[in-house]
Amino acid sequence: MIVDSPFKLVLGLGTGAMFGALLQKGQVGKYEVILDQLLLREGRVLRTMGTAIAVGSVGVHALARAGYTQLQIKPLRLGSVIPGAALFGTGLALLGYCPGTTLTAIGEGRRDATVGALGMLTGALLYVRAYPTLKPALEAGDFGKVTLPQATRTSPWPWVAALGAAVLAGTLAFRER
């Protein structure tokens, strides 16, 4: 088993604690808030995610451009991303928490979230079991670790600006009641 240095583990724990506290203060670890979003009754989750994406995008691209970090891109494999996303969405509707907000809800004391996490661990075990069989199907339609700017041979900056503009426009159009 690979074990990171104590410094990296503490850094991860601290980063995670900030993430968990933000999710908790944002009320997005609550079942009803997530269901209200899925049923389009209210938009707190989307507002939070949209702002995070717009703000994150500027800084992460700037850091990468300046050479302080590299982008970490997951491969676009249609054979795994499309069915994976559909299965994920179905499970999300049943459980009512996504993986990060499951952990947030456990931190708040929710017992159904604890059962959900046991289900998640079971799902991971089933994935390990099924992986060797599924591997050829999962790797079908492989376009590699590609970004939208790479795919269109454009600079990332217009995309970053468009994200920011879209989130700002959405914010103004759907102001909080």
Partner: protein
């Protein structure tokens, strides 16, 4: 520090905070925020306890993932910890098990809710590991990096989640 004792922050403040935290995690660890990878590596580690039943050896041969206790594992543990501290500070803890909307559709049975949560959690994690990311890893970290995979994942997840929850809970009035 006063704000830390408040229950609810604006979604824009929280979103900006998460965006800023992603700069921090890239700058300090060269990693995006994500949750489900450590579940897979933990499953692989648990699988090693019963290699024949779990089929973990065939998995390890064909995969570059190995059991780890790493930054990502600590990150996931930290989310739970940070939420617990925040909820305690603001008196926002909640020890319930059957949410209102669930109860309107499926009744107040705790066993039923637990069964739904367990199956939902298993499906969600299986899907996340197929796609190599979740609401955090693809939905926030991947989309903000403009990863093509994440911009395919996020809308399919949202539409499927919306349709299934409408089917299950759409008739249950708020």
């Amino acid at each position: 520090m006063n704000a830390f004792f408040q229950r609810s922050w604006s979604p824009y403040a929280v979103g900006a905070g998460i965006g800023g935290l992603s700069w921090f995690s890239f700058a300090t660890a060269n990693k995006p925020l994500g949750i489900t990878t450590p579940f897979e590596s933990t499953a692989a580690r648990l699988g090693q306890l019963a290699p024949r039943t779990s089929g973990v050896n065939a998995y390890l041969v064909k995969n570059d993932e190995v059991p780890r206790l790493d930054w990502e594992w600590a990150l996931a543990a930290g989310v739970l910890l940070g939420s617990a501290i925040s909820a305690n500070a603001s008196g926002d803890s909640d020890h319930g098990s059957v949410p209102r909307t669930w109860a309107r559709a499926f009744g107040p049975s705790q066993a039923k809710r637990f069964a739904g949560a367990f199956i939902g959690g298993a499906m969600m994690m299986f899907g996340a590991r197929m796609a190599k990311g979740c609401t955090s890893g693809h939905g926030i970290s991947g989309t903000l990096q403009l990863a093509a995979s994440s911009w395919v994942f996020a809308p399919i997840m949202a539409i499927t989640g919306g349709l299934v929850s409408r089917k299950l809970f759409g008739k249950a009035r708020k």
